[in-house]
Symmetry: D2
Subunit: 142 residues, 4 copies
């Protein structure tokens, strides 16, 4: 299986006076890529999941290594792969590339919560089978 | 020595529909706190360091664990401590608290570069003694 | 009466490769100043007003003239004055200055709504007298 | 001529606790649409124009009327039309629609500057003919 890739058009607004994307915007890009992954694979963006289904997915961890600057000169291709499903969590790896160069890579962990109650819940039954299949497929693809 | 604490007034604009600060804004807050630390201890904000002295300090790593939601109901108190000085890098720990509760904690690594050339450089002589003293003081204070 | 002034520490993160604050961040600063005005004069930030009292104040208009670039070299002093109270709206003028120079000026109109229902409502009785007095005071001060 | 339309996928991150896009993000969306217009019609994004050609295009004015909330439930279609070319300026109208409803409309004025010198310049010769033709076409199309 080919990894899921979310493309971002980096812009002037994203850059700082060093003429590269500001550090703080990189986690934002990776989160956008993860949300695009949700939408592509589960048909669920965070807004609808939260508001229409009362399923929240707050992050409990993120880490990013910055390898090379990101600029508007090339598309930013963010590959997203689910690494592991826990009792009530999911861990992703995101790798951002421009023109074939790895710019950053990171890991991101979300937990499932009842959105209104803000209480941790198990991975919802409606998602578990799909998520486990996606993790398996990602492992075989890597 | 008391740890350096940078206070942030969290706002409506920082929050998402879950009524808490959006995940992607938390690294932004931590970076703001680190820049405030620079300004308070070395008299140098990133803008002046970069543009007036040609010293850049891009980040090569950040990791954050999210412990409890951040909201506008309390001040966000970000304590910043330098953990370690390397040949050309500095590592910080940032802990964000609201009303006595730890909301997030993370580590952040900057490297020094010649800003225009974007080439890694050793920790500038003008900063090294001060930075080492600050690391020692932070270790004794913790 | 002296005008209300909200101070903002402009940062590296706010600037674009032209080494000045990115255009799109200026309305953000003005909105922050207006929210600070609310908090200082009515004891109500937008988060608490919305969530605790079900009073929303969405904007229906904003206009900004940019006079001079904003940079991190000086504090940004945003003066905020209420210009006019309508049946269900309030209009503000915001002027941003750095080191005595006007950097931008703009007008911003909010309407009151029942937050959950998203229905326009008259200016809430609990605010009307105070708001009218503040408009009068601002007119006499200018 | 059909108006130029730039599509934006609105996200969870763009929304505030009122479950709609935060006011301050709307000018950001409109600016993104204007930059996309530049790129589509003149082959020039703001980063390359500024850094590679020393042509800056800072904004001197923007105004926005907010007609209807923007949410992640629909694509945001931003139509961009150049209204008028001055001696050294260009004025745009941007209209944002979701699912056929006008959500906001605004006007935005950029001036041309020598980027490094930050000095106003006439509309560059390399752009003037194209820009005038685009204004004429937009007028005939509207």
């Amino acid at each position: 299986m080919k990894p899921f890739v979310h493309e971002i058009r980096v812009r002037w607004a994203d850059c700082d006076p060093a003429k590269i994307v500001y550090t703080g915007n990189i986690p934002m890009f990776a989160l956008e890529a993860i949300e695009a992954w949700w939408e592509a694979h589960l048909g669920a963006d965070w807004y609808r999941m939260n508001i229409d289904r009362d399923i929240g997915t707050p992050f409990v961890h993120l880490s990013v290594d910055f390898r090379s600057p990101v600029t508007p000169r090339h598309l930013l291709e963010c590959s997203v792969a689910p690494l592991r499903i826990g009792e009530s969590s999911i861990r992703f790896r995101v790798i951002g590339r421009q023109d074939g160069t790895v710019c950053f890579e990171g890991e991101f962990v979300e937990v499932f919560v009842a959105a209104q109650a803000h209480q941790k819940i198990p991975v919802p039954a409606e998602f578990r089978d799909s998520l486990e299949a996606l993790v398996t497929a990602a492992q075989q693809g890597s």
